[in-house]
Amino acid sequence: MKFRDEYRDGAAARRLADAIAHTVTRPWTLMEVCGGQTHAIVRFGIDVLLPSDITLVHGPGCPVCVTPVEYVDKAIEIAELEGVILCSFGDMLRVPGADGDLFAAKSRGADVRVVYSPLDAVVIARANPSRQVVFFAVGFETTAPANAMAAVQARREGLTNFSMLVSHVLVPPAMRAVLEGPGNRVQGFLAAGHVCTIMGLGEYGPIAEQYGVPIVATGFEPLDILEGVYLCIRQLEAGRSAVENQYARAVSPGGNRAAQALMDEVFRVIPRRWRGMGDIPDSGLGLAGGYADFDAERRFGAVATSEDAVGECISGLVLRGERKPPECAAFGVRCTPERPLGVTMVSSEGACAAYFRYRGVTAAVGGTR
C-alpha cells in the first residue's frame, strides 16, 4: 500500500533510532497523544528501539477511552427503547457502561448497528422513516467533520427521525490538562497527526510557549513516529519549545478549512467530562443552536453525570501519562481485557490493552535489548 508500506521500513527505522541515540544526552519524557500512535509504538516496538534515556508516555488520545460511562449508559438506554435503531462505530460496542455494553444490549435484542461512516446512519434513517435512528457520535476533531456532515445531510433531507448522541472531545485542552497535572512529567509532545490534519497547528503555539514544551505534529507509521521523536529531542537538547510539523504530507498550518467550516456550523465548544481526567473546560463539542433539534439528549433525556468510580484502577493516571500500564499492580493480574477494571484496558485503543496484547512477552527476538 503506497504511503504506508514505505514508512515501515526496518532499516530506515533503525537509522532514525541511531540518530536519536546520537542526539540525546540526558533523560527526556515525551507524550504521544493519540491512541493510534500508542498502538503503533507498542505493536512495532518503537519504544524498544529508542535509547533508554527516552521515556514515551501515552496520552489520553483515545476518544473511546475517555467517553464517560454515563454516555455509554445513555446509548444503551436509547438502544433498548421500542423502535429505536442505535448506530455506532464498532469501537464503542465493547466499552462497558455501569451495567454491560452495547454488544450485550444487542444480544438482548436491541437494534444496535455498526456503521463505518456517519452517513451510513443517515441512510438507515432514510430507509426506516417510522423508526427513530440515533447515531452515537464519538471522536476527536478528526471525526467531527464527518459527524457534522451527517447532521447536515439529515437536515437537507428534512429527516425528523434522526438524532445524534454527541460525546466529542478536543485534544489541545486535554494536553493543557496533562501539563497542569501535579504529577506531570511530560517535557515534549508528539501531537496527533490526524487531528492536526483537520485543525492545523495554530492551537499548539500558545501551549508550547506557555509551558515551554516542544510540540511536533506527528503521523502514525513507525518512520513518522521516530522522526517525530527525533525532532522533539533535537528541540529539547537545544532548549527550544516550538511547534514543528513532521506530518507535512497531510498537515498544513491552517488545517482543512472546508472541514473546519462544517464543524463551526454544526458544533459549538462546550465543557466536557473526560473519563479518568474529570471536567476540562472548553474541551468538547456539542451541537450548535441551529442543529439542536438533532440532539438525542433533547429527544431522549439528558445524560446524568456522576463521579468516576475509583478502586484499584489507575486509568486516569495512565491517560495523563503519569503511570505506564505495567506499573499498575493490577495489570495482567486482576485486570485483563477479559476482566477489565478500567477503560484503558477495555478499549482496544487504550494503553493498557495495547501493552497487554503486544507485551505479554517483552524480549526482542534475536536482539540485544
Binding site: R4, F44, G45, L49, L93, P337, E338, R359, G360, V365
Partner: protein, 338 residues
C-alpha cells in the same frame, strides 16, 4: 417442487412432506449407495485406527464470494480429518432448516456439498433433517461428523512438537474472513477477495506419505493464524516465534484489513493450515506443498523454541525487528475507526 417454494414446518414433521423433501431434494444430490439403502445408520468398514471429528456450521450470510455454508461444511470436515493425519472417508450431515428458507437456496447449498464431497472423495453416507420455526436458525445450520483412516505413522498433535521444529503455512491468510465480513456487513467495498474455502487433505496426505516428519497440523479457522498458533503453543508448552514479513498476506487483503482496522493474523481462513515439522524436513516439505494448487504459496513462517517459564506462548517479529506477543482474539472482531 418448484423453486419459489420454501421450507415449511411440515417438512420436518416425519410425515409425507418430509419424505418427499428427502426423496426429491436431498437424496438425489448425494446419490451414495449407502445413503440410498435408507437405513437409520450406515454400516461401514475401516481398516486400522480411525479419526473421528464433528463440527457445526452456522455462518451468516449463507452464500458468500467463494463458497457457501454447504462447501464450508464439507471442506471443514475433510480438513479436520486431514489435520489428524487421516484420509477422509465418510461424513454424516445433519440439516436444521429454518421455516421459510427458499427451496432454491437449499438446492444450491446441497449442490455445493455434493461438488465438495466429490472433489475430496469423501462419501456422505447418512444424514438427518429437522425444521425449526422461523427465527430459530439463520436459514440453515449444518452439523457434520467425519470418519477418516489414519495414515500418519506417529501421533500428530501438539504433544509431538519440540524446540527447533519449523512452522510452515500453506498459503496467504485472511481471505475468508474479509470476504464474509464484507458480504455480511454491506461495507460498500469493491474487491476481488473471495473465501479461500478449500479441502486440504491432498497436500497433507502427501506430506505424510512422502515421509515428512510432521509433528502437528492445524487448519486455520475462526481466530486466524494467531489462534491456531496460540492453541498449539499453550498445549505443547513451547514458544512459537513467527516472522511477520514471512507470513503471506495478499495486498488487497492487507488493504481491506487496514480499512477495517483488523490484524490479518486474527482474520478467519477456511482453506489454510499450518504444519509443524522436523527442522531437517522443512525445505522439502515446503517444496512438496508448493506442488499442489491449494498450497502453492506454502512458506516457512517461524520456529519453535523452548518456553523458558514452561508457559506456552507465541510472539511475532515485526517490520522493525522487535517482537510482540500474539494472543487469541478476545470476543468478536469488530471494525474500528480508532
Amino acid at each position: 417442487m418448484s423453486g419459489e417454494e420454501t421450507i415449511q414446518l411440515a417438512h420436518g414433521g416425519g410425515g409425507r412432506a418430509m419424505a418427499r423433501l428427502i426423496e426429491d431434494v436431498i437424496r438425489p444430490v448425494f446419490a451414495d449407495e449407502e445413503l440410498a439403502r435408507g437405513h437409520d445408520g450406515a454400516v461401514l468398514g475401516v481398516d486400522g485406527p480411525i479419526a473421528f471429528t464433528t463440527d457445526s456450521y452456522v455462518i451468516r450470510p449463507l452464500v458468500f464470494p467463494g463458497g457457501d455454508i454447504g462447501s464450508l461444511a464439507v471442506n471443514g470436515t475433510v480438513n479436520d480429518l486431514a489435520m489428524c493425519g487421516a484420509r477422509p472417508l465418510y461424513m454424516s450431515v445433519g440439516l436444521i432448516l429454518e421455516e421459510g428458507l427458499p427451496l432454491s437456496l437449499l438446492r444450491r447449498i446441497l449442490a455445493s456439498m455434493r461438488a465438495a464431497a466429490a472433489e475430496s472423495g469423501v462419501r456422505l453416507v447418512t444424514g438427518d433433517t429437522k425444521v425449526v420455526d422461523r427465527g430459530k436458525a439463520d436459514g440453515v445450520f449444518i452439523n457434520t461428523a467425519g470418519i477418516g483412516a489414519v495414515v500418519a505413522p506417529a501421533l500428530i498433535g501438539p504433544q509431538a512438537v519440540r524446540p527447533g521444529d519449523a512452522v510452515l503455512i500453506s498459503g496467504d491468510i485472511g481471505r475468508h474472513g474479509i470476504a464474509v465480513m464484507a458480504a455480511r456487513e454491506n461495507l460498500g467495498l469493491e474487491m476481488a477477495i473471495e473465501s479461500d474455502c478449500a479441502p486440504l487433505a491432498v497436500p497433507v496426505l502427501a506430506l505424510i506419505e512422502r515421509g515428512i516428519a510432521v509433528r502437528c497440523l492445524r487448519d486455520l479457522t475462526r481466530g486466524g493464524l494467531a489462534s491456531a498458533a496460540v492453541e498449539i503453543a499453550e498445549t505443547a508448552r513451547v514458544s512459537i516465534v513467527l516472522d511477520e514479513a514471512a507470513v503471506p498476506v495478499r495486498d488487497d487483503v492487507a488493504s481491506a484489513c487496514e480499512l477495517l482496522g483488523l490484524d490479518p493474523l486474527h482474520v478467519a481462513n477456511e482453506g489454510r493450515f499450518i504444519a509443524i515439522v522436523a527442522p531437517e524436513d522443512a525445505s522439502r516439505a515446503v517444496e512438496l506443498l508448493r506442488g499442489y494448487p491449494v498450497s502453492a504459496n506454502a512458506v516457512l513462517i517461524g520456529l519453535v523454541r523452548a518456553a523458558p517459564t514452561g508457559r506456552g506462548h507465541v510472539s511475532c517479529r515485526g517490520a522493525l525487528g522487535v517482537a510482540r506477543a500474539i494472543d487469541m482474539l478476545s470476543g468478536e472482531q469488530l471494525p474500528r475507526i480508532c
